[in-house]
Symmetry: C2
């Protein structure tokens, strides 16, 4: 079994590649839910949805989120009622949120909902939310404390980040199967996702970071930063706000207690020696994931370096 | 004040005409809610929505319901989850149902929700739901007891009607303002709506039929049947199933205890004498309401005959 810790866009692109080079039935994905939120009374799980749409071949590849070709007529119509409409809820996408909300209201756990809905989307990988409990990421900025989506989407990640909190994480439990998926894996991969906004919440859950340290599998992290630039906001904004170096090295430092291997782009080859000084192996390869071939190649090389 | 009892498509077309020939601020519309239902946990009020969209100039004129140019991407996406998708919930239309559901969940009564939402749609007429209590119309057919929308939309009104029940109507109360709007009006008009499926539920509410009998205003009914054919299903199907004559005369008989005037189409002029025998005045005019001019003319003549 290969277990991947993932956020949204970057993680989903890596997973698209991984699903081409490994048996999808042997892949478990633990997905961040720290940026989940409610809009109009509907439970929205942005990272789970991005991963789901990407693996189902439905994602809007250009934006990296949402359903390709989706319309936004519902959202436009909500404006008439004076409702906030800054969150991009597409019409097809909305069915996902409503279905999830109805199943949760029936009493299913988020894990059960995710499993049911992944089947409906024909996904062969096993998707696990990081937790069935809400652990909302709170971003303290110069403009005040913001929810993650408010910080990222409503305000465009423009506010200087002063602190990040995973609210309630001490009392939250990893979802059923999360710890086992890490401990029993033959390879664990931290996807090229935001280390603070996406991977941080997963690692902060009781027992998860320890499991990633203790697992007998080798653990790799793929850098979400190349040449000092992150693939997606708000990775750089959050790292920088917290005083972390926005580089593959900065990411490796955050993970150094549990990773065996750091996967970095060729453009960052000069960081290899510095990362090795952290006691971490380095794979230098193409880490930009521009198209399907690049994604598959990155996954193949990462897996190769982990398993051989 | 002019008070109109209305169902959906036929009533909304008459109201479009009436709003052109009378001051909209002086018009109160009491709308059937007997065919309200829940889809996907959302409260759907078909007649209220049709009237709202028609008066807001948004209705799909050809179909007579829904928002002009609406898409159905949400509904199509719900099919993936194995949900029933026979009810035509458009993407823009969906915003109406979700907004209503959220306001009801906040604790507002349906009357309050209708007033708030009518303002959002820029509607100057006063819209009242017939009741804040649910009074679901149950249609007993050869295929069993069906909800109104199930009977009409899902099964296309193809099942022979054996009985119609307005469930819980004895315990329901007319919405605030309904009785007063009837008693204090200077004209009361029963719109050309289904006498069993749309007007029947309103009249069955405690005190409503008595109010229409007792009001000092003259009361007119506009026939929804011309030449033995109803404008919309399932008027003819329901009347016929209950053993009623599907004609302007058959409608007049249902209303004869409270109407002063029956408005019928020129094509039905031969029914005039028979209707007069019921003790009801008759206005023979164009009652087909094909376009805006015809709707305005019908409203103008009805009002003229009532008020002079």
């Amino acid at each position: 079994m290969i277990t991947v810790l993932s956020g949204g866009i970057g993680g989903s692109r890596f997973l698209q590649g991984l699903a081409r080079v490994a048996d999808p039935h042997e892949i478990t994905v633990i997905v961040n839910t720290g940026d989940d939120t409610d809009f109009y009374g509907l439970r929205v799980c942005p990272d789970l949805d991005i991963v789901t749409y990407a693996l189902a071949g439905l994602v809007d590849e250009e934006k990296g989120w949402g359903v390709r070709g989706d319309t936004f007529h519902f959202l436009e119509a909500m404006a008439r009622f004076g409702r906030e409409t800054w969150f991009n809820l597409g019409d097809r996408d909305l069915a996902t949120h409503l279905q999830r909300t109805l199943l949760l209201r029936q009493g299913l756990s988020l894990s059960e909902v995710v499993a049911t809905m992944a089947r409906a989307f024909g996904i062969e990988l096993r998707l696990l939310p990081m937790s069935d409990d809400p652990v909302p990421t709170k971003v303290t900025t110069e403009a005040g404390v913001l929810g993650f989506q408010e910080y990222l989407v409503k305000r465009g990640a423009r506010d200087r980040v002063l602190a990040v909190e995973y609210a309630g994480v001490e009392a939250a439990a990893p979802a059923p199967g999360v710890i086992e998926a890490i401990l029993d894996a033959r390879a664990v991969i931290v996807a090229p996702s935001n280390p603070i906004g996406s991977i941080g919440p997963i690692l902060a859950l009781p027992g998860v970071r320890q499991a990633v340290r203790r697992t007998r599998a080798r653990v790799a992290a793929v850098s979400p930063v190349v040449e000092g630039r992150a693939f997606q906001p708000p990775t750089a904004e959050m790292m920088d706000g917290l005083g972390l170096e926005v580089s593959a090295y900065g990411v490796a430092r955050l993970y150094k207690d549990f990773i065996d291997l750091m996967v970095i782009d060729r453009a960052d080859a000069h960081l290899e020696a510095k990362i090795r000084e952290l006691g971490v192996d380095v794979l230098v390869t193409g880490a930009v994931m521009s198209g399907p071939e690049e994604r598959a190649a990155l996954a193949r090389e990462t897996l190769g370096a982990l398993l051989c």
